[in-house]
Amino acid sequence: MIISASNITKIFRTEKVETTALDEVDLEVDEGEFVSLMGPSGCGKSTLLHILGLIDSPSDGQYQFLGEEVGKYPEHSRGRIRKANIGFVFQSFNLIDELTVYENVELPLIYNKTSVRERAKRTQSVLEKMDMSHRMDHFPLQLSGGQQQRTAVARAIVNSPKLILADEPTGNLDSEHGDEVMGMLRQLNGEGSTIVMVTHSEHDANFADRVIHLFDGKIQSEENRKREYA
């Protein structure tokens, strides 16, 4: 089991208003699974993803990541686990504009203190895999959306994370590039990566093994789906 979350609650408070984004959510994800989180805007799916990805903490509940209770961890401890185990792909790519494709992909390795030689080897190999090596000296703003997202995926997997989290990975792409990215995620899953993805799109959700529907911060339903590409 890679993720085991129970009673996860997230409340956003401002001076006068209290909004419950997640209300006692239970979720378990096994290694090698591809899970899709679906639901209308504001249902809490991104919040759940952020908590699962250790970039936000729950207001209440237990969260075990790889068997370690991390729900109450402070940021620096979460950061330590995050950088070794989790890769992120976002709707808006979130590449660093000042870095080239190569440097963006290499960055997680730098922060993980990987040796220079190893860094070069792994970055090259991932870029080839994502078919981005011909663009490696370009800056993000010089790339198409699809290319940017491929770079983001490359960055997410360069460190061989146990878990890949994707937040609407095709949301800013046309259907052709969207399918390309989904194909890549599927492929990574086939190679053993665990993936949790937030999406609006039924089409994209079909790439997952399991689809979880959220509504008003609660899990409404869960369905196992047959893989389109087995």
Partner: protein, 809 residues
């Protein structure tokens, strides 16, 4: 990792050119200022420390007290060294320097007047550190007719060649060049262009063998003790105290004068400005002041950096958040941001250094600072290291807050709106901008006050007419004996309006003497007095007002002895109800008139009690042959305002005909007067420049911050415009908060400036009062500049079509 940071910094630099330019420009200017001031302060604080032995060298100064009134003098008696050593041979050595006065030195066809030639004891080069270029400095002053030249002096006559063995002629003797030494560092309190052997005085019968205690009460040269290594300053003081008791006290009692010796460690001489008859001294107040300015300017630039960096947090939140998500730890981000600011500072150092070089080459900076080339740091790796360390410190200072602040951004900020970040940075930014205004208003107000004081000094009536007066020195008995001929010849020209003589012109030392003067009750009383010997027409030519009695231009049959004219202050000081007829014993003189106070000294000094006495008839028949060429007298020639230079040519021709030996030299009174305020004038120039730079850097920062504030509020501006706000209202809204800061900062800055300027103005005996309008004006100017800066920045958004602003989000 380092390479990665460097790359990112450079790319940020390139991508946000305006931001980078504001930072680099601000930091460069600040570092240039700080560099100049650091080097200036270093030079001031290391005065005379190039002397290897400086810790063992003491200058002996004196305090003379009579009738409860004390006078302090840097100069001491020629006999002090030898007599003191006779009593305490274990003390070490003494070295004396004596000023023979401005003199003409000739070699073949080259004849140049030099002011800073000194007579020095043989061991001067052994005690004080000099670098030899030619000759043997050890024995350079053994021969009574030896002269050792500085490099500049030598170059003026001999170019680059070795002059050792050549003869330089003066009016009296020929001197043989024995050595050439490197010019002294600028920060030497006693500067000389050449040294002549003190032994030359033996020709005048002045030798250490016949030094007598009577000579100890007349002063005229600087005496230094080179202390033996096993003694300290306290021991030296004790010796001088017992020396006084043993050798001088009896004699002192007889003439109602007591003396005390002050031992000044060499490195402390420069900052002691309490002594009369001293070389130009430094002012610790300026060192503190400049230090404060350096800190201010650097602070303002650091504040800019901090301000802009935190304002940019919104823009960088995505990068920071993303770095954190993919594994950056906080310390790594702190290193990255600190690295950026240190990088900026180092680039700014290069640019700042270049600015200093430019400033030294193309502005009068060096002369304002009174220093030579400041940036000549060859052979001073330690100083260069300090400068680089200082720059890194500036980088750290500027970057520390942004680094801590930016690295605290939550990883989620990469994904969500950044409202939280912007609001938390705002408070500190306001404080920082407040500080900038505080400094700007304070510096500006102080500069204006300095200007006002210097104008006051320049325009204050001095009690005489200083316009178109020339001061000319006549040299040698042959010329002086024909002074009447010169007078008559000059007065033949209609443009020469007046001619007189004076033993003293502005900027020179005035004779001070212990005299017996009749007090109000008719008894004789001892008091120290200044006096000037003048020509009979002096009061008339100088247009000094006689307020009681008469001047001494005409001698009445009833006059007994010498007639003297006193100034108002002397009347006041003596408490005379009826000054006419009062006696001054030593000159067998009686007061015949009282003149209004006049300022020959600078306005730093209050007018002192003094009297004018006529020169005795020009009879030089008793002057011994060796003294004859050394006799000199200053004449004052009043000329018409038109065609001054033609008149000067005429004067030149008359004097040169009578004295073809000496090149004709003259000084305008105005120049002599201005020279007395050189320090203050330079300070004023410097402060103006620094005030300008301070304001400029502050504006740069304000411009940047206004840009970011406007950007953050773009949507708000759009909405406000849609519902009816005018452009002016928008600009006012954006500027309002900053304007509040200006008001508060102005009040505080005014108080601080008032306090500091009061101290500065107290240097002057005659000073202006500080008026409130200066502070109001300075505040208004700063407010106006600030408003314009903000308006210029925000008007673009405020003027544009509101829909653009709305589309922004």
């Amino acid at each position: 990792m380092l390479k990665h940071y460097l790359k990112v910094t450079l790319r940020h630099f390139y991508r946000e050119k305006t931001y980078a330019l504001i930072n680099v420009l601000g930091l460069s200017l600040a570092i240039a200022c700080a560099l100049i001031l650091f080097l200036y302060i270093r030079s001031e604080l290391t005065y005379d420390q190039h002397n290897v032995n400086h810790e063992r060298i003491y200058r002996i100064a004196n305090v003379y007290t009579t009738n409860g009134k004390s006078d302090r003098f840097a100069a001491s008696s020629h006999a002090l060294g030898p007599l003191f050593l006779k009593e305490f041979p274990q003390v070490g050595e003494f070295v004396r320097f004596r000023d023979p006065g401005r003199g003409l030195y000739r070699y073949e066809d080259t004849a140049i007047f030099w002011t800073d030639v000194r007579l020095a004891d043989e061991n001067a080069f052994r005690v004080f550190t000099h670098k030899a270029i030619y000759g043997d400095l050890e024995n350079a002053l053994a021969d009574p007719f030896a002269i050792a030249l500085s490099e500049s002096f030598s170059r003026a006559y001999f170019g680059d060649r070795n002059p050792v063995g050549e003869k330089l002629k003066t009016d009296v003797f020929d001197f043989r060049v024995t050595a050439v030494f490197e010019d002294q560092p600028d920060n030497s309190h006693l500067k000389y262009d050449a040294l002549i052997s003190m032994n030359v005085l033996e020709n005048y019968g002045l030798s250490d063998q016949n030094a007598s205690p009577q000579q100890l009460f007349s002063i005229g040269e600087y005496t230094y003790i080179f202390l033996s290594p096993d003694l300290d300053q306290h021991a030296l003081e004790t010796m001088f105290a017992s020396f006084y008791d043993k050798v001088m006290s009896e004699l002192g009692k007889r003439i109602q004068l007591s003396a005390e010796f002050i031992t000044q460690p060499l490195a402390e001489v420069h900052f002691d400005s309490s002594l009369g008859y001293d070389e130009l001294t430094g002012n610790v107040f300026y060192v503190y002041g400049f230090f404060a300015v350096a800190v201010f300017v650097v602070l303002v630039a650091c504040i800019n950096y901090t301000n802009l960096a935190t304002a940019r947090a919104t823009k960088r939140a995505k990068e920071i958040g993303m770095r954190k998500i993919i594994g950056a730890e906080r310390w790594q981000l702190i290193v990255q941001f600190m690295g950026e600011s240190v990088g900026y500072a180092l680039v700014a150092l290069l640019l700042g250094g270049f600015l200093v070089v430019l400033a030294e080459a193309f502005t009068p900076l060096s002369s304002w600072l009174g220093k030579g080339a400041l940036l000549d740091l060859s052979g001073e790796p330690l100083v260069i290291m300090w400068i680089v360390m200082g720059t890194i410190l500036i980088g750290v200072l500027a970057g520390i807050y942004p680094a801590l602040y930016l690295s605290s951004v939550a990883p989620l900020s990469a994904l969500t709106a950044t409202k939280r970040i912007r609001s938390s940075g705002l408070h500190l930014r306001e404080i920082l901008i407040f500080l900038q205004f505080l400094v700007s208003v304070g510096v500006l107000a102080s500069t204006v006050l300095m200007q006002i004081q210097m104008r006051y000094v320049a325009s204050k009536p001095l009690g005489y007419d200083e316009e178109n007066k020339l001061s000319i020195t006549l040299r040698g008995v042959e010329t002086l004996e024909r002074i009447l001929v010169i007078r008559n010849e000059l007065l033949k020209n209609a443009s020469v309006l007046g001619f007189t003589e004076s033993s003293y012109v502005p900027g020179q030392g005035v004779a001070i003497q212990l005299l017996q003067v009749e007090n109000n009750q008719g008894q004789m009383e001892r008091t120290t007095l200044n006096h000037i010997a003048v020509g009979k027409e002096f009061i008339d030519v100088m247009d000094i007002e006689v307020i009681e009695g008469r001047d001494f231009s005409k001698r009445l049959l009833t006059d007994v002895g010498t007639s003297v004219v006193v100034n108002e202050t002397m009347v006041k000081n003596m408490g005379w109800e009826n000054p006419i007829g009062k006696r001054i014993q030593e000159f067998n003189a009686r007061v015949v008139g009282v003149v209004e106070d006049f300022h020959f000294a600078s306005l730093h000094e209050p007018v002192v009690p003094m009297f004018l006495r006529p020169f005795p008839p020009a009879d030089f028949s008793n002057v011994p042959p060796l003294q004859r060429p050394l006799q000199a007298r200053t004449i004052i020639v009043s000329v018409a305002g038109e065609d001054v230079f033609r008149t000067i040519n005429y004067i030149d021709s008359v004097i040169s005909e009578i004295d073809p030996e000496h090149p004709f030299e003259f000084r305008f009174f105005d120049d002599l007067l201005n020279e007395m305020y050189e320090n203050e004038t330079n300070l004023m120039h410097l402060t103006s420049v620094f005030a300008g730079i301070c304001m400029f850097i502050s504006c740069l920062g304000l411009f940047g911050v206004a840009a970011f504030t406007t950007e953050l509020r773009t949507k708000e501006i759009g909405i406000r415009k849609v519902i009816g706000a005018t452009t002016l209202q928008i600009i006012t809204m954006l500027a309002r908060n900053l304007m509040y800061l200006v008001v508060v900062a102005s009040v505080l800055a005014s108080l601080l400036s008032y306090y500091v300027m009061n101290i500065w103005l107290d240097v002057f005996a005659y000073r202006v009062d500080i008026e409130v309008w200066v502070f109001i004006a300075a505040s208004l100017v700063v407010a106006a500049i600030a408003f314009t800066t903000i308006a210029a920045q925000s008007s673009k958004t405020a003027l544009s079509n509101p829909v653009n602003a709305l589309r922004y989000e």
